[in-house]
């Protein structure tokens, strides 16, 4: 039985980054991907934060096909018939390479081509069906009739991770630990995007929404500008969808979002060219899988490494970082010629020293905070209402701004003890 060093299941950002960090190290590495090419099954919102991974990626992202550099951040609270938006830009945001919008089909494909040039085998169009066991160790994978034996199997197979499940690392999937993202690509001329979003060429905008976009359910909407398209969509907690009475058909939400005045103008004349959906792990620290076993490591979404921070979802830089750290562990294991969990456990140890587990741990209470329904229904309704009252000049005498503020806040219950107490929990996050 011939045994290679590493087989990576899944050519997403996690798996490809792991392979990249293993390239040119005299190891035999194979990436197996079920899609026609890496990227062809992958969906993201939009934006990759670069600073957390800058040091560890080395030259990996040199020449990457970024869509636009985010220089404008917008957050909107959508009431039923009004909205309130914060629009932020700054010199640092424009000058530093903080975050970029990307499209995964071209991005992942580009990275896989870079890998192939470095001598890594990337095998597309193969679905891995199972892991191979020898006593309590994993010694390879099975794809149809093919078997590949390897010292280490890396489960990089994304949020549904059947491999993590077969390897007995992944906990059973419960609705409260996942959100579903539903997205459309709408093509628009590059110059139209520059004008509508008030940005220069190759500069872009990240716009996030809460409130009416999910009809008050846990989740939000997003709009990211690409070179000549926008990525628009919603992410919504699965449990929130199931608890809703009467039930709402999820696919209708994106349509009512796009019908909003605030959005309609931005995408007017655009042509829809793709419709996609994908799950997002949202269990945070508590929802993580076991991270290693004898002969196996689990990385990226498969391990549950994603963080819903309310205003943004971070998953891609976690995927990349965990892939690279897994590679470091594998190199160590190869050096020691020990692929048992003794050495594999270094992976978790190293993750704890980096932002991956540090941030997941630091923000472990964010979910409890976000479970406050008011954040998605009451506040997105009442803030715009407050603004409306202040802006409004009607017949008769204009009331003083201070008393308008005070009275609206009191009458809408913004100052109720329960609400303030829930908001106070913000100190935990």
């Amino acid at each position: 039985m011939e045994k290679i060093d590493v087989v990576i299941v899944g050519g997403g950002l996690a798996g490809l980054s792991c392979a990249y960090a293993l390239a040119n190290k005299d190891l035999q590495v194979i990436v197996v991907e079920r899609g026609d090419f890496p990227g062809s099954k992958n969906v993201t919102g939009g934006r990759l934060y670069l600073l957390p991974i800058k040091k560890m990626t080395g030259d990996m992202l040199d020449g990457a096909p970024f869509e636009r550099k985010v220089v404008r951040e917008r957050w909107s609270l959508l009431g039923d018939e009004n909205s309130f938006t914060i629009d932020f830009t700054s010199t640092v945001l424009r000058e530093k390479n903080h975050s970029y919008t990307i499209l995964r089909s071209s991005f992942d494909r580009w990275l896989s081509e870079k890998l192939i040039e470095k001598g890594i085998f990337v095998i597309p169009k193969y679905r891995v069906d199972d892991v191979l066991w020898e006593n309590d160790s994993i010694v390879g994978i099975k794809a149809g009739e093919e078997k590949i034996y390897a010292n280490v199997v890396v489960a990089a197979d994304g949020v549904l991770s059947f491999i993590g499940e077969k390897a007995q690392l992944k906990p059973a999937m419960v609705p409260q630990n996942y959100a579903v993202g539903i997205k459309e690509i709408i093509e628009l001329p590059e110059s139209t995007i520059n004008e509508r979003f008030n940005v220069g060429s190759s500069e872009g905008c990240a716009h996030l929404f809460i409130g009416d976009v999910t009809k008050g359910m846990f989740g939000g909407g997003f709009l990211y500008t690409n070179k000549s398209s926008v990525s628009i969509g919603i992410a919504i907690g699965i449990k929130a969808l199931m608890d809703r009475a009467p039930l709402i058909e999820a696919h209708n939400l994106i349509d009512s979002f796009k019908e909003r005045y605030e959005i309609k103008k931005l995408i007017e004349g655009g042509v829809i060219s793709e419709y996609s959906a994908h799950l997002i792990p949202e269990g945070g620290f508590e929802g993580l899988s076991k991270l290693f076993g004898n002969g196996i490591l689990i990385i990226g979404d498969a391990a549950g490494f994603a963080l819903n921070m309310g205003i943004t979802v971070r998953g891609m830089e976690f995927a990349i970082a965990s892939g690279i750290i897994a590679a470091e562990t594998i190199l160590k294991a190869k050096e020691m010629n020990d692929f048992s969990q003794n050495i594999m456990s270094l992976y978790e140890k190293r993750l704890k020293e980096t932002f991956v587990l540090k941030d997941l741990y630091a923000f472990r209470k964010i979910r409890t905070f976000l479970e406050n329904e008011d954040l998605f229904s009451y506040y997105p309704r009442s803030f715009p209402e407050l603004i409306e009252k202040i802006m409004w000049f009607g017949e008769g005498k204009k009331r003083k701004i201070g008393s308008t503020l005070w009275e609206t806040m009191r009458s809408t219950g913004m100052l109720s003890f329960k609400r303030l107490k829930n908001l106070y929990k913000i100190k935990d996050i």
Partner: protein, 92 residues
């Protein structure tokens, strides 16, 4: 635009065999909510009043897995389509 029209914009390579199997007996016996119908972003699930069966048009599947997660009764047997098949995103 209707969801069926949106799906028509995607590239699908369809297998003859469905990657989603439904155990109708479980649906019949245990399920009052039929979450599968409301959550599917591609709106592929429906209830056939004549046969009293849950039907899924697997050919338009976006492979998100939402239906698998919401069916707590375990009536949905869901695997990825075989390599080479299913949705192929051009943007993603």
């Amino acid at each position: 635009m209707k969801v069926e029209e949106k799906l028509a914009l995607n590239v699908f390579k369809n297998d003859k065999e469905s990657h989603i199997k439904i155990h109708q007996d479980i649906c019949r016996k245990k399920c009052l909510t039929r979450f599968c119908i409301s959550v599917c972003p591609a709106h592929l699930y429906s209830f056939n009043e004549e046969t009293k069966e849950i039907v899924v048009e697997f050919a338009g599947c976006l492979e998100c897995g939402t239906c698998k997660v919401v069916c707590k009764e375990g009536a949905i047997e869901w695997i990825y389509p075989k390599g080479e098949y299913g949705v192929q995103y051009r943007f993603g």
